[in-house]
Every structure is written in structure tokens, then in C-alpha cells.
């Protein structure tokens, strides 16, 4: 070591760049329904129509839930209005055997993954049977504690890797959840174990009343991926094609065994946080109007009309189909027989332990008398 410098040091230890990163943003479909041909994925025209249908159905059942809530036939409901493209685009990229690990604003993708709508209604109407999905539906129940589902996504992705199952775990959360430690732990652990997990942030700009810029100082949420050594990309979350492309790349990567990825889908919650919230207390009408102009359904319809895949008659028929389907699901919800009070006890453990059996009996006596 040279020691003839002024302070007895050396010149051989400079500051150097050890890491540099770039975060990309992907947009394919603009608000006028024009696509960037170079980026447009190859999707069968029939499939694109289906995507549109999926999104229209989502809006219809979301709207119905709000109406049911006002009529006292639904509990607190977190609306998904405005976020349909994220959910439809990711669902399109998923394979049959892939797992979905939702947070609580993923009703759209849950339905597309095979969860019956009337069960989703049932859960939010206050019935645990709503989270008892049919056999073979690879979907976790709703996770209400914000951010806690990210680690389940990491765990399921690890499980799929260890069991040699070539399925992938796709887990969702909101922008607010990226402030929770669980988000960072989940990404970190998934990365360390090369878990087959894709993390999708529905960045809808608001965590109840707190806007994104108060959640993070970072320019994007996607860039947080760099800290965990995984790819991260930001997409226009109201652009179903961009969402699909990003999800498809991430899911393929995970399926190959190359590890997890993070997708930040920039979207907007057009509705309130839940039916118990009043968003006008914290955000202006102008902002909402601006985002209504970026409506994911509207722009896909413009695209379909532009390329001659859609007309007014089809729209009318689809709206009728949506109404019929949603009404049918509401009927199924309301035909569910009430749960027996004993159901409070019956699924706490694989076998009901003696003290619970005793409490169950006491409740039964009370109900009988």
C-alpha cells in the first residue's frame, strides 16, 4: 500500500459504481384505442373480445354489489371500478394450474380464475362459506390485513418450486401495501429462494385517503424490485395489452425457474375505498374526471371498434348478458341456506376439541330456547 500521500492513504481505492438500474414503463394501448403495433402482442381477435367481455362483466358485478350494499343486501364492499384491465390482463397470462393469492380488491381476477361470483358476494355479505372455493380452484381466500398476502405468494411460489409443480403463484396487492414490511420481506424471500412468484401491485393511487406520494418518496413502485435483485416493470394498468405482456413475461420467467418479478400496474380507483368510505373527503373531482378519461374498458372498446371487432349490437347483447349473469349470481347468493350457528365452531380445527364442543352445545341450547 502506498503511504506517501498527504494523509498517509492510497489512491487505489476509489468510489466506484457497483450497481446501476433502469426501470421501464410499458404502454401499448392509448386512451383513444390506438395501439403501438411494434409492441402489440399476438392475441387471437376472439380472445381480445373475451377480454373486453371479462372487463364489462367485472364492472357489472361491481356495480351490482354497490347497489346491493345500498339496499342492505351486501356488507362492506371494496369496489374494483377502474381496475378491470389489471385483473383481466393478468388472468389472461395465467395458466390453468397457476395459483392466485389475492389481497381484497381482486374480485375480477378471482372470478376469472374460477371463483364463483356468488361466493365472492357471500364473503362480503358476511358468510365464511364465501371463501370455501370449489375443489380445484387454485386461489387463496381474500387477505384483509394489508400486505400480509405477499409472503403467502412467496411461500406458494416456493412450494411450487420444491414440489416440482410447473405452476406459478401470482399475488396481488395495492400501493399502500408496499409500505408494509411484509411487501419487502416477501419480495426478498421469494428472490432468495427463486420462488415461482409474480408480484402484481395494483397502484390505484390511494390507500384509503393517503395518496401515493405520501406512501413513498420513490418515483415508481416498480423500482423497488431492484433492491431485491428481481426484475421490475411499470405498466399502464388501464392498458390491458401492456398488463398482459408484462404478466406473460413475468409468469414465463417464473415458470422457467428463473425467479420472481414485480409488476407495478398504474391504475386508479374510480370508486371509494369501500362502501364505508367517502372519497370526496380527500380527493377532487377533477382528478377523478381525468382518470375517467383513461377508463380501461372505454379504450379497449374504442380499439375493438376501430379494428372492426365490435359494434353496437354486440355491446347491447353483452350488457344484457352481464345483467342476466349478475342477476343469476345474486339469486344464487340469496338462495344459500343460512349457516347454522354451530358453524362458528366447526372449522376451527380439523377435529372440534372438547372445550369448543361444549361451547357449541351451549350456543345450541341458547338458540333453541
Amino acid at each position: 500500500m502506498q503511504t506517501d500521500q498527504k494523509n498517509g492513504g492510497t489512491e487505489s481505492l476509489p468510489r466506484s459504481r457497483v450497481y446501476e438500474a433502469v426501470t421501464e414503463r410499458l404502454e401499448i394501448l392509448d386512451t383513444e384505442g390506438l395501439v403501438d403495433d411494434a409492441l402489440m402482442p399476438e392475441i387471437d381477435p376472439g380472445r381480445i373480445r373475451d377480454l373486453y367481455r371479462d372487463m364489462v362483466l367485472m364492472r357489472a358485478f361491481d356495480d351490482k354489489a354497490l347497489k346491493l350494499q345500498r339496499q342492505g343486501r351486501m356488507g362492506t364492499w371494496p369496489p374494483i371500478k377502474g381496475q378491470e384491465a389489471v385483473q383481466a390482463g393478468v388472468a389472461l397470462a395465467m395458466g390453468d394450474s397457476d395459483w392466485l393469492i389475492p389481497a381484497f380488491r381482486e374480485h375480477g381476477v378471482m372470478v376469472l380464475r374460477g371463483v364463483p361470483l356468488h361466493l365472492i358476494y357471500a364473503y362480503w355479505a358476511g358468510d365464511e362459506r364465501g371463501s370455501s372455493f370449489p375443489e380445484g380452484v387454485r386461489c387463496f381466500p381474500v387477505a384483509v390485513p394489508v400486505g400480509s398476502q405477499w409472503q403467502h405468494g412467496a411461500g406458494v411460489g416456493l412450494s411450487l418450486k420444491l414440489s416440482g409443480d410447473d405452476a406459478v403463484a401470482v399475488t396481488f396487492g395495492g400501493d399502500g401495501s408496499t409500505s408494509e414490511g411484509d411487501f419487502h420481506e416477501g419480495l426478498n424471500c421469494a428472490a432468495v429462494f427463486d420462488a415461482r412468484t409474480v408480484f402484481v401491485i395494483q397502484n390505484n393511487q390511494w390507500a384509503i385517503s393517503v395518496p401515493l406520494h405520501q406512501q413513498t418518496k420513490a418515483e415508481t413502485l416498480a423500482q423497488k424490485a431492484h433492491a431485491y435483485g428481481v426484475p421490475g416493470i411499470q405498466v399502464d394498468g388501464n392498458d390491458v395489452f401492456a398488463v398482459f405482456v408484462a404478466a406473460d413475461e413475468a409468469i414465463r420467467r417464473a415458470r422457467r425457474g428463473d425467479g420472481p418479478s414485480l409488476i407495478e400496474a398504474v391504475t386508479y380507483r374510480l370508486g371509494d375505498h369501500t362502501t364505508a368510505d367517502d372519497a370526496s373527503r380527500y380527493r377532487g373531482e377533477a382528478e377523478v374526471k381525468k382518470w375517467e378519461g383513461r377508463d380501461p374498458i372505454l379504450r379497449l372498446r374504442r380499439y375493438l371498434e376501430r379494428v372492426g371487432l365490435w359494434d353496437e349490437d354486440q355491446e347491447t347483447a353483452l350488457l344484457e348478458e352481464a345483467r342476466t349473469w349478475v342477476d343469476g349470481q345474486v339469486a344464487k347468493l340469496e338462495e344459500m341456506p343460512p349457516q347454522e350457528p354451530a358453524e362458528i365452531f366447526n372449522s376451527m380445527y380439523a377435529e372440534v376439541p372438547p372445550h369448543l364442543a361444549e361451547q357449541r352445545e351451549a350456543l345450541a341450547d341458547e338458540v333453541r330456547s
Binding site: P141, S159, M348
Partner: protein, 343 residues
């Protein structure tokens, strides 16, 4: 529950088969090793459980035997150890997660309370979390802060778990094997103070002991001491001291705190008419209070004296220099027994 029954006879009736002398830590390791051999879905994960073999060596040699796909050194993140275990368990694995010290379980509480304990009920049985969370707990080893706590009460007031606490090597092996085979999340509290305090004959073959059954650690007629984990040995010591004065003390080792073997507990108290509950955790709203309540509900008329508690204080667990004043001692137990006897 009887001292002679094959299943409830933890301390004194080790079956007459090939046995080796093991410590509790070795018995724990032995159970995991045999369960991993029996069922390839059993995984071990946690901090330092791999190459290091666990800070108490409870997973010593497992990674060499089963590889890094079944013995996973995790990042230093308790919430993720449990959160990932939820994902693993709900999709077919049987994770045995280690929280290095119970004092460090706080970051994992959300995952434990909000998910592990609820998944079965939430999905009406469609998904469940058959997992074990091993947690060395309790005081008496003169460690730094946060290494001495007994937080069982937190988990006993949160439905959905089973809570198991062995007090000796034979029980440790049989109860841990049962916990790993259980269909629900089991919190397995290991009394680290006596991890290596003594050895006992433990059958070499795999076996299970029933979760939810207490054991009579010592038979007696005058008074019942009720304890679990490291406190059981202290109670046995106290019983020995008391026997010199002709006091016949029964020691009930609860072994499982949830579900509680109320029948076994009440049977003993109804027989002796006097009881003292001993635990390390703080007194107020500690599990001792629940036990006293249950005795009052089910054996009040057989009682000859109020049931007393010998517990930790309602304070932070002290650092090493004062911990002996905090922890229940043989002397305090003897004193409490004399009080209930002279009531």
C-alpha cells in the same frame, strides 16, 4: 390421565424398547429427523437451522441428511418464516418453522394470528395450515434481553392454534412428532432452560403422544401442583422437599395448554382439594388465571383452600443479574403449598 396408562405416562413409564439417553434438544432433533424420513412433505425452515444446525443444535445434521430443499435457512425475517409457511402448508407441505427465541416472535404475530390460526375456519376447511412453530421459550439461561420470555398467553387467547409444551425428552419427541402430523398449526414451546439439563431414555423408534392430554409427573394426595415446561421440574423438586415433611404432592404436567386437558386437571384437584399453579409468564391474565377459573367452575365444592399462583411478576423479564428474583423458585412453590395446606 393416569400414571400407568401407556399414553399419559410421560415421565416414568418409558416403553421397554430400544432406547437411548437423550436431552430435550436431542429428542426434538430426533423427532424432526424421523418425521422427515417418514414424510417427504415435512420441511424445516428458520434462521440458522441449516449448516449451523440451529443455535441450540436442535436441527443439527438435518441439512446434510435432507438437503437444502428440505432444510431451509431463511433470510432473517420472522414474519416471512411464518408467512411463507402459511403458503407452504396451504399447498401441501408440512413446514416445521423455527422462531429462534420466543422473544422474537412479535414480527410474526400478524401472520400467526391473522392467517395461520384462521385459514381453516376462513375457508371452511378448504385450506388449512398443518404447520409447527418451534419456539425456545423461558428464562433461566442468563441471556441478553428478549431471550427469556414466555408468551404462551398471547397464543392461548387466539383461537386456531394448539399450544404444546414438553417438560422432558420423552414427551418432547412424542409430542413433536404428533405436532408435525397434526392437521392444524401447533405452537411448540421448548423449555430452553432444560434443553440439555438432563438425559432420559427415549425410544429409538418413532412414536407420538396425544396432544391435549396432561400427565401425572408425580402422584400425591394432599395438594396438586399444576405446571408445564421447565416449571415441571421445579415442581418435582418442591414436591421432594415437601415430602420430607410428610406432604404428599401431586404434580400435573399439562403438556398441552390448548386444548387443555380439563378432565385430567380437575380429577387431580378434586382428589387433593388444594392446588397451586406455577408459570414463568406474568401473573395478570396469565394462563394460571384461566386454570383457577376452570377449577372454580368445575371443582369449587371439592376445594379446601383458594387456589394460589406462583408466577413471574407483572414486569418486563429482567436481565441476567435479577432474573433469579423474577422466576418462580422451589422455595416460592413450597411456601405457596404450605399456605394452601394451612388455610
Amino acid at each position: 390421565m393416569s400414571a400407568q396408562g401407556a399414553e399419559g405416562s410421560a415421565l416414568r413409564a418409558v416403553p421397554e424398547v430400544v432406547a437411548e439417553k437423550l436431552t430435550i434438544a436431542q429428542a426434538v432433533r430426533n423427532a424432526m429427523l424421523q418425521e422427515m424420513e417418514r414424510d417427504e412433505k415435512v420441511l424445516v425452515l428458520g434462521e440458522d437451522v441449516g449448516v449451523d444446525g440451529g443455535v441450540f443444535r436442535a436441527t443439527d445434521g438435518l441439512v446434510e441428511r435432507f438437503g437444502t430443499d428440505r432444510v431451509l435457512d431463511t433470510p432473517l425475517a420472522e414474519s416471512s418464516i411464518i408467512g411463507m409457511s402459511v403458503g407452504l402448508a396451504a399447498t401441501g407441505f408440512r413446514p416445521v418453522a423455527e422462531i429462534q427465541f420466543m422473544g422474537f416472535v412479535y414480527p410474526a404475530i400478524n401472520q400467526l394470528f391473522a392467517h395461520a390460526a384462521r385459514m381453516r375456519n376462513r375457508t371452511r376447511g378448504r385450506l388449512a395450515c398443518p404447520m409447527v412453530v418451534r419456539m425456545p421459550y423461558g428464562g433461566g439461561i442468563h441471556p441478553p434481553e428478549h431471550h427469556s420470555e414466555s408468551y404462551e398467553t398471547l397464543f392461548l387467547n387466539t383461537p386456531g392454534f394448539k399450544v404444546v409444551v414438553p417438560s422432558n425428552p420423552y414427551d418432547a419427541k412424542g409430542l413433536l412428532a404428533a405436532a408435525i402430523r397434526d392437521e392444524d398449526p401447533v405452537l411448540f414451546m421448548e423449555p430452553k432452560r432444560i434443553y440439555r439439563a438432563f438425559r432420559e431414555a427415549v425410544p429409538a423408534e418413532p412414536y407420538t403422544l396425544p396432544i391435549g392430554k396432561a400427565a401425572i409427573a408425580r402422584e400425591g394426595n394432599d395438594v396438586t401442583l399444576i405446571a408445564w415446561g421447565a416449571m415441571v421440574r421445579l415442581c418435582l423438586d418442591a414436591a421432594e422437599v415437601l415430602s420430607r415433611d410428610g406432604v404428599s404432592t401431586e404434580v400435573v404436567d399439562l403438556r398441552t395448554l390448548n386444548p387443555l386437558d380439563r378432565h385430567g386437571l380437575i380429577e387431580s384437584v378434586a382428589k387433593t382439594g388444594r392446588a397451586v399453579v406455577v408459570h414463568e409468564a406474568p401473573r395478570t391474565a396469565g394462563f394460571g388465571a384461566e386454570i383457577v377459573a376452570q377449577i372454580n367452575e368445575h371443582a369449587l365444592l371439592q376445594l379446601e383452600a383458594p387456589v394460589l399462583r406462583v408466577t413471574g411478576f407483572d414486569t418486563v423479564f429482567p436481565l441476567a443479574k435479577l432474573e433469579r428474583y423474577y422466576l418462580p423458585s422451589r422455595e416460592r412453590i413450597v411456601k405457596a403449598v404450605r399456605e394452601v395446606l394451612s388455610f
